[in-house]
Structure formats: structure tokens, C-alpha cells
């Protein structure tokens, strides 16, 4: 067991300066942090980390790895701003414990493309002005990458027509090859990503264009 959540303080090599008011006696109420060692790939680079077992992937990315692309809009799984991809599937990083990701590969918005070499969806978002403040945008884009992949794999959504999702009347949804992404499918699949600026028409257009062009599902 190690003390873990002060790693940045150690990296910085500076002990906290104590002000005249502070006092350093122990705090009986706080449970001691439990650390765990793991290996995690983020945007293609492997990191060996010791993480607090209570630490969310979002906090690991933002506070420990300095990857602030994923945003904290709520920290409670309500807004989608923290969406990242784990092995190509979208997850809410605020609800994912880093300790559960030993040997997993995480892709954040920074790993999709760079300003000089943007991912097709990043380009489409700019071209369709699918953002205003942009705070939701990293989550929207990671989510959209996941959506395109889900459709390409034929994973049905709640609005996928019964005949496609349940061929022959099967009870469980069945994967039957790539699904077309019409507006309704995009709306349904993107409904977990809030945009308070209301840039939805642009978001819809950007994803529809990427879907038509067959780009962006990775």
C-alpha cells in the first residue's frame, strides 16, 4: 500500500508550505487511501501507475496524466463531457474506476487527432460549426467515434427497427452487419451527451457526414 493521491506533489518536489494557521496533526476521520499498481495505455503510450482505488479514470487522466481534454461537467454520469474510448467502446470516465483498467487501452480526444492532423470527426465538427463554447465537444466527439463503430459492427440501439435488431422475431437483439446511421439513430445514440449551447443541429450534421463518408469509426 502506498500513498497515492499526492503523486503530483512529489513530482513537483515541493512539500506544501504550511501557513501560520495550519497544523499537521492526524485526521482520524478520513479512511486511509488504498493504492494499486497497474499498467494502462493512454493514447498509445503505456503508463505504470499506482492509483488510489477510489480514483476515477477522469481524475487519473486530468490530474495525473495532464490530459485535460476529457471534461468534468458533472462527475456523476449525467452529462457525457468525460466520454473516452476503452478499446474502441465509449465509456463515461467519471464513472470508471482506474483500478479496473489494468492492461486496458484508453483513447481520449487528444489521441484521436491533433490540431494539425485532425480526426475526420474533429474536422467535421469544425466544418459544421458543431460547437460554441466547446466544453461538451471532446465528449461529443469520442461518443461519436464510438457510435460510428457501434453502427459499423451492427450493434442495434433502442430505435433500431425491430426487423433489423431482432431478425425473425428473436428475443435478444442480434448483430447482423453494419447498420445505417440515419438522423434518428444518431440522435438516440448521442442522447447521453448534453450540449448546453444547443449546437445539436451542427453535431447531427457533422456525425451524419462522417457516417456517409464512412470515416471516423476508430
Amino acid at each position: 500500500m502506498r500513498e497515492s493521491w499526492d503523486s503530483r506533489e512529489r513530482i513537483a518536489g515541493r512539500a506544501g508550505r504550511v501557513t501560520g494557521q495550519a497544523n499537521t496533526s492526524g485526521d482520524a476521520a478520513a479512511p486511509p487511501p488504498v493504492g494499486a499498481d497497474l499498467r494502462i495505455s493512454v493514447n498509445g503510450a503505456w503508463h505504470a501507475l499506482t492509483v488510489d482505488t477510489r480514483e476515477s479514470l477522469l481524475d487519473t487522466l486530468r490530474d495525473r496524466l495532464g490530459l485535460t481534454g476529457a471534461k468534468k461537467g458533472c462527475d456523476h454520469g449525467q452529462c457525457g463531457a468525460c466520454t473516452v474510448l476503452i478499446d474502441g467502446r465509449r465509456v463515461l470516465s467519471c464513472l470508471t474506476l482506474t483500478v479496473s483498467l489494468d492492461d486496458e487501452s484508453v483513447t481520449t480526444v487528444e489521441g484521436l487527432g491533433l490540431p494539425g492532423a485532425p480526426h475526420p470527426l474533429q474536422r467535421a465538427f469544425v466544418e459544421h460549426d458543431a460547437l460554441q463554447c466547446g466544453f461538451c465537444t471532446p465528449g461529443q466527439i469520442c461518443s461519436a467515434v464510438g457510435v460510428l463503430a457501434e453502427a459499423a459492427e451492427g450493434r442495434p440501439s433502442l430505435v433500431t427497427h425491430r426487423d433489423r435488431a431482432h431478425p425473425g422475431g428473436s428475443a435478444e437483439p442480434v448483430i447482423t452487419g453494419a447498420l445505417p446511421l440515419d438522423e434518428e439513430e444518431i440522435r438516440e445514440r448521442m442522447s447521453g451527451n448534453l450540449c448546453r449551447c444547443g449546437a445539436y443541429p451542427g453535431i447531427l450534421a457533422a456525425i451524419a457526414e462522417a457516417a456517409r463518408a464512412g470515416e471516423g469509426a476508430r
Partner: protein
């Protein structure tokens, strides 16, 4: 489908669909929002807030918090170095509560620690002894019951603004009355309040913060810190949406106090729940209206009482009351008007600026009245509005004459002529209200169509000295001419940085060598003069005007230089002479106060119109509403950037939809019941319908490029249009927004079907 009259202009100048320069940074996660800031030795701030809407504070014991390892400072009001109160228009709000709390969530103490969780726990460990007392939560009682406890410094009245025009007759051929209510809406920007304060070597502090108005923050922070203004330097950090909620201070003074006390950088980031307590909201309103008209539907008089609940502190309530009063009859010609608009102090959460402030609430009520009047007169809702519509030359309720184009009747006709979406009688459950969650086969689904009209004042009104400052510099960089535009104007997502660069390109186009990459908009900070607030739809007008004026000054200097050195090209000229820099302030034409007894006066600089048509499907059994389509016609005078403008109309309409159907901070006995996105619902991409837009360009000769502010008007008219459509579908009166499922499904008198 979008029909947009494209403006003229060079490829990258005013009128062109230039992509936002920060777009690539934002889509790649490189753009630094205030919550992304990081310094290796920074501390984290946390705030202890009152659990009570109204209480005396008998004791505060910070000892247990100070005793926690990792805690560097715990401060209360006693530690405020300078003035202990601040406020936008009136300093009535304590930096930290002094002996009493007036609303749930009021900051009582602040902590700095080496980890955010430690800071939060330390805040929780502070022991505050409260003596709760009666909370004043009914704004009418606060205003009109002399026995009501006082919340404000001089009582519970923030502002009473009457409007008196003509003589209201005792009755008319047709009279309709109504009582309307608007719930408390939240701006719910996605990027919570956050910022980083860094102590400076000169004893001052630098604050990197997401705000709407750097200089008014500085004006309020410096006195509280006991520092001269030049020692409190602000720079704009990336802003994750604003919508009015960043007009007031939140963590600014707190972060600076802790940074100065500890000598270390201090970062604050509010969580979502805290954010619901960390900023002002849209004023809830209770409104009584009486409209008198002729049988033909011509308005004879309007009487109204508008009560706006300002909550515990003043914030921008006076301006909100002014808007509700001056725009209280809407864009209609009325000869006899009797309005009383009030702002009240209560122990409810403080309310202030939100997109359309004051005009939104009144618009919902007067438009609901126009529909009632149409019904009473047997007229179509479009027709009754057309018959009473203002136009250029009309007199507003304030006596102010509309002196630029206001083609409301034509806008309404154009809107009504737009094709309607196809009917919903598809067997596909997915198209029904409630979508895949529908539990019926659509037996109770009814379609409704409704119209709404809104008028909003652009820029600051009522005599405010409203200006912006721009510094424009042309110089050689890497041997190429380069334009640098510097203002303190806050880019909050509206695309102001794009527009500033477009204006520079248009005004300095004759510098033939200037290409796309050679205009830079410098980050906003307080090292240049004030730009005023990114609110009241004013920045394109005022900061746009300042950038244009500074560019024109630079252009004139360059022309003079060229005359002195004929034959030199722009690059050679700049090489010989060095950089050319000009700073200009731009003021719109002056406005005047409203007369305190009659409300008369030319209080507004510009008025902007937007009209909406909403088509909804309502499941009258389940109370579910699906907005099928929104159509809008808006006159913007001049389109500066088509996609950015359309984004404003989409976003404003979405927030109006939220107010109509979804969004309300529920407050019971002064306590907020739903401070989360699980319980406070904002529109998702599923809720946002396709939009049909028609954007008109009838220029306002007094404004730069003829433009009209555009961000707020669509927020006004979308709400009443949707409410009217739901009424049309359900046959219910629905005098309150948001319209909740139970208002439809459990309505006392079920509609005749």
C-alpha cells in the same frame, strides 16, 4: 433546412462563414478551459456553504479543519482583507457570510488544501452553529405584507418600475385576463465555475478565470482584497458557456484571498451540485395580465403586475425589472398601459442575469394573453399579432419610437407561410412523444401549432455608460504584415473571436498582402480597457464597433504614412516606420433612464425581434410532449457570420424549449430540491427538433454594419410558441412554464376530445 440570406464580404471578412479560430483547439482537447489550469505547486480551494435559507450564525469553529493534514488555510469573513461586500450594481453581498446567512448555499468559509478532496473534507469539518429563523420565500408576501421580515438592507423591494401610458378605461369590448408563472431556470453552462489565482511578486494577484466581464470582476475583487486595481490582474481562461451565470462573482475573491494568504496558487473548480448554488438563476415570475381590445382584436389597453423574485441579493435584478416593465406589452401598439413591475428580496436563491433577462418572463405572459385574445375575438393567432404589430415609427410602452426597421407583420406572415412538417400518424412508436419509452400506441397523441413573438433590448439600457475598447496593431512579424486585435471581451462560445478577426480583415483589407493567417485576436485580459460584458447580446455591436473604430484609425495612419512615402508597399512601410497601433473606445448612442413614475424615456439603444412557430405532438394521457419542429424568423440587421449566427438561434431556441417543457430549479421553503443533471433536465439532442430558419437583414443605421444583437431574441419567442402549441394540442390553459407532464395528464378538467 436553413434558408439564410448570405451577407456580402470578402472570403474571410464580415459576412463570411469563417470557421471559428479556436475550433480546432476545442475539437482536439487542446483548448484550456478555466477548469483545466494547473500549476505544480497549486492548492485547491473549497467552500463551506449554508444549509439554511435563513439563519443567524452563532459560532464558527475552524479548528477541526485547520487540524487536518494538507490544509493550508481556512478563512472566514474576518479574514477578508478589504471591503466585505460586493455586488454588480449595489454592494449588498458579503464575500463570506457575516453573522447571518440569507440563502441556502451562501458561502460561509473557504479552505485551501493540497488535494481537492482534502479541501472538501476540511470544509465539511468546520463547525458552524446556526440559529435558523423564518425564511421569506413568497415574493408577493415579501413585497406587500408589511409584517414580513426584511431580507434586503432597506426592506424587500429591490425595484418598482411603473409604466403609465394614456388612461386605462374600465373595460373594453373584449377583455381577457390571466395569471402566469415562470419557474426558476438555470443557465446550466457545462463548464462549472472555476479559476486559478496566482500570487504576484508585487503583492498583487493574477486571476485566470472564466467570466463574462473581466473589468467588472476586477472592480469588485480589488476593493475586497484591499488592493489597488492595478494589482489585481485578470485574464480570461477558457469559458465553458455563460448565458448570464458568469456575470456575478463566484469563486473570484475566494481564490484570490487564499492565494494571497498562502502565497501559493489556488484553484477552485465547483462540482455540478455546487454550481447550482454558485451562480444566480433566472428570476421566477408571477404575472397578472389584463388585455382589453376591440371586437376586431385591436388592443385598447394592457394592465399588468409583474413580480420577479430576486432572491437574497440584488445582483442585476434592477435591470431585469426594467426590462420586464419596458417590454411588458411586447412588440404591440397599445395606447393605454398600466404596468407595475417589481423585484423582491427573499430568502430564495439569488437571481440575476440569464439570456433575455426580464424580457423572457414578460414575453411568456403577454404572448399567452395574445392567444387568449385571439380566441376571444375568433381570430387566428397570427392575425391578432399582425393587427397589433409594431413597425418602424411605432411607439413602445416607454414612449420610445422604434427608429429602425421592425417588420414584424411581414415576419409573422413569412413564418406562417413556411411549410408544416408531416403528420405523426405513423405507426412507428419511435416518432411518438416519449420515444421508445412510450407505453401506448399513440391513442392519446394530438398535434398542436403555436406562435410566439419576442422583442429584446440589445446592449445595456437606461443610461448606462456602455462602451468597449479595442487595440489594433499592425506590424511585421517574420517580415510579413500582421494584425493583432486586443480587447477584454469575453469569448464565451458565441464566436466573438471570429467576428473580431473578420472585422479586422474587412477594415484593413486594403493592406493587400494580408492573408488569412495574419490576423490574431489576442487573449482577453485587463491590460487593455474594458469591453463591457458578454451579455445583453451586445458584444458584436459594441466590441465590434470598437474593433472597427481602431482598425479605421490604423488605416488612416497607414494612409498618411503612404502619402509621406509614396511607392512603398505595406511591408516596406511597416519596416521603415515600425508598428502602427491605435486604441479606440466605442460607445453606442446614449440611452436614458425610465421615469420612476411613468416609465417613460428612450431607455433602449436597439430593439430586436424574433418570431417562432412550434409544432408539437402531445400525448394528452401521459402528459408527454415532443417538439416536432421549430421555425423562426429573426431580423439581425446584418449577418456577420452565418454559421455562428445560426448557432445562436439554435441555442437560444433550445434554451427556450427547456424553459417551456423541462427546466426548473425546484425550490421548497427556500431549499433547492434538484441540484443535478439527473433532476434538472436540459434538452438533449433527442429533445431538439429540426429547425427552419429565415434570417432577415434590415439594417439598423445606428449600429456598426447595421447589425442587431442576435443571441437573446430567440430565447424569448420559443417558449411561448411551444406553450401555445401544447395548449392547442391539449385544450388546456397551462398558465405556467415549464409545462410538466402532470400539468397535462392530471389537469383538473380533462380536455374534451
Amino acid at each position: 433546412m436553413t434558408q439564410t440570406a448570405r451577407g456580402t464580404g470578402s472570403d474571410l471578412g464580415v459576412g463570411a462563414g469563417v470557421p471559428r479560430p479556436d475550433g480546432l483547439l476545442k475539437v482536439t482537447g487542446e483548448f484550456a478551459y478555466s477548469s483545466d489550469l494547473y500549476l505544480a505547486d497549486m492548492l485547491w480551494g473549497a467552500t463551506l456553504r449554508s444549509p439554511h435559507p435563513s439563519a443567524w450564525i452563532r459560532a464558527v469553529d475552524v479548528g477541526p479543519a485547520l487540524a487536518m493534514p494538507g490544509v493550508h488555510a481556512v478563512l472566514t469573513h474576518e479574514d477578508v482583507p478589504g471591503e466585505r461586500f460586493y455586488g454588480l450594481e449595489h454592494k449588498d453581498q458579503p464575500v463570506l457570510a457575516i453573522d447571518q446567512v440569507r440563502y441556502q448555499g451562501e458561502p460561509v468559509a473557504i479552505v485551501a488544501a493540497d488535494h481537492p478532496e482534502t479541501a472538501r473534507r476540511a470544509a465539511d469539518a468546520i463547525v458552524v452553529t446556526y440559529e435558523p429563523r423564518e425564511a421569506v420565500t413568497d415574493p408577493r408576501r415579501a413585497l406587500f405584507d408589511p409584517g414580513c421580515p426584511k431580507v434586503g438592507p432597506e426592506g424587500n423591494l429591490v425595484r418598482h418600475q411603473p409604466v403609465r401610458v394614456g388612461t386605462v378605461p374600465p373595460t373594453a369590448e373584449v377583455v381577457v385576463t390571466g395569471e402566469y408563472e415562470v419557474g426558476m431556470q438555470d443557465q446550466a453552462f457545462l463548464g462549472p465555475e472555476s479559476g486559478l489565482a496566482v500570487p504576484a511578486e508585487d503583492g498583487g494577484v493574477e486571476l485566470f478565470v472564466a467570466t463574462q466581464w473581466l473589468h467588472v470582476d476586477q472592480d469588485q475583487i480589488a476593493p475586497c482584497l484591499g488592493l489597488p486595481k492595478d494589482k489585481v490582474r485578470l485574464a480570461l481562461a477558457g469559458v465553458g458557456g455563460a448565458f448570464g451565470a458568469r456575470e456575478d462573482l463566484s469563486m473570484q475573491v475566494h481564490a484570490c484571498m487564499l492565494a494571497l494568504r498562502t502565497g501559493r496558487p489556488v484553484k477552485f473548480v465547483y462540482g455540478r451540485e455546487e454550481s447550482f448554488f454558485g451562480h444566480v438563476h433566472r428570476h421566477p415570475a408571477r404575472m397578472r395580465y389584463e388585455h382589453g381590445a376591440t371586437r376586431e382584436g385591436r388592443l385598447v389597453y394592457v394592465k399588468a403586475e409583474i413580480v420577479l423574485d430576486g432572491g437574497a441579493y440584488r445582483s442585476s435584478s434592477p435591470a431585469v425589472v426594467g426590462n420586464a416593465a419596458s417590454l411588458g406589452v411586447g412588440p404591440y401598439e397599445v395606447d393605454n398601459i398600466h404596468i407595475d413591475a417589481y423585484g423582491a428580496y427573499t430568502n430564495n436563491p439569488p437571481c440575476g442575469a440569464m439570456r433575455g433577462f426580464g424580457a423572457v418572463q414578460a414575453c411568456y405572459a403577454y404572448e399567452s394573453q395574445m392567444d387568449r385574445l385571439a380566441e376571444a375575438c375568433g381570430l387566428d393567432p397570427v392575425e391578432i399579432r399582425v393587427r397589433n404589430a409594431v413597425s418602424q415609427g411605432s411607439r413602445m410602452a416607454t414612449g420610445q419610437v422604434i427608429d429602425s426597421p421592425a417588420p414584424l407583420a411581414g415576419m409573422l406572415r413569412e413564418l406562417a407561410a413556411m411549410p408544416l412538417p408531416g403528420s405523426s400518424c405513423s405507426p412507428d412508436l419511435r416518432a411518438l412523444p416519449g420515444g421508445v419509452a412510450q407505453t401506448t400506441h399513440g391513442e392519446g397523441v394530438r398535434r398542436g401549432v403555436g406562435y410566439g413573438v419576442g422583442i429584446k433590448n440589445i446592449c445595456f439600457s437606461e443610461g448606462f455608460d456602455d462602451y468597449s475598447t479595442a487595440r489594433v496593431r499592425v506590424e511585421l512579424l517574420g517580415d510579413e504584415p500582421h494584425i493583432l486585435v486586443h480587447t477584454a471581451a469575453a469569448e464565451v462560445g458565441q464566436g466573438l473571436v471570429t467576428v473580431q478577426a473578420q472585422i479586422a480583415r474587412t477594415e484593413l483589407a486594403e493592406l493587400a498582402d494580408l492573408g488569412a493567417a495574419r490576423v490574431t485576436v489576442a487573449p482577453a485580459d485587463t491590460s487593455v480597457g474594458s469591453a463591457g460584458s458578454s451579455s445583453a447580446s451586445r458584444q458584436s455591436y459594441v466590441t465590434g464597433g470598437a474593433v472597427r473604430a481602431a482598425c479605421v484609425a490604423v488605416r488612416e495612419r497607414l494612409a498618411a504614412l503612404r502619402a509621406e512615402h509614396p511607392g512603398l508597399g505595406p511591408a516596406e512601410l511597416l519596416r521603415a516606420h515600425g508598428p502602427v497601433e491605435e486604441t479606440r473606445e466605442y460607445r453606442h448612442r446614449p440611452t436614458h433612464p425610465m421615469d420612476p413614475l411613468t416609465g417613460q424615456g428612450d431607455s433602449h439603444v436597439q430593439l430586436a425581434l424574433c418570431v417562432h412557430r412550434a409544432v408539437v405532438d402531445v400525448d394528452v394521457d401521459l402528459g408527454l410532449v415532443k417538439v416536432v419542429e421549430l421555425a423562426a424568423v429573426q431580423d439581425v440587421g446584418k449577418i456577420l457570420n452565418p454559421p455562428a449566427l445560426e448557432g445562436q438561434i439554435h441555442g437560444g431556441s433550445a434554451q427556450g424549449l427547456g424553459l417551456a417543457l423541462m427546466e426548473e430549479i425546484q425550490v421548497r421553503d427556500g431549499r433547492v430540491l434538484n441540484p443535478s443533471f439527473t433532476d434538472y433536465l436540459i434538452p438533449t439532442i433527442l429533445d431538439m427538433p429540426p429547425m427552419r430558419l429565415s434570417i432577415l437583414e434590415n439594417p439598423d443605421p445606428a449600429a456598426p454594419y447595421g447589425l442587431r444583437g442576435a443571441g437573446e431574441p430567440p430565447t424569448l419567442s420559443s417558449t411561448p410558441a411551444i406553450a401555445a402549441a401544447v395548449r392547442a394540442a391539449s385544450g388546456l390553459a397551462l398558465p405556467r412554464v415549464p409545462i410538466r407532464p402532470q400539468d397535462i395528464a392530471l389537469a383538473p378538467a380533462a380536455p374534451a376530445r
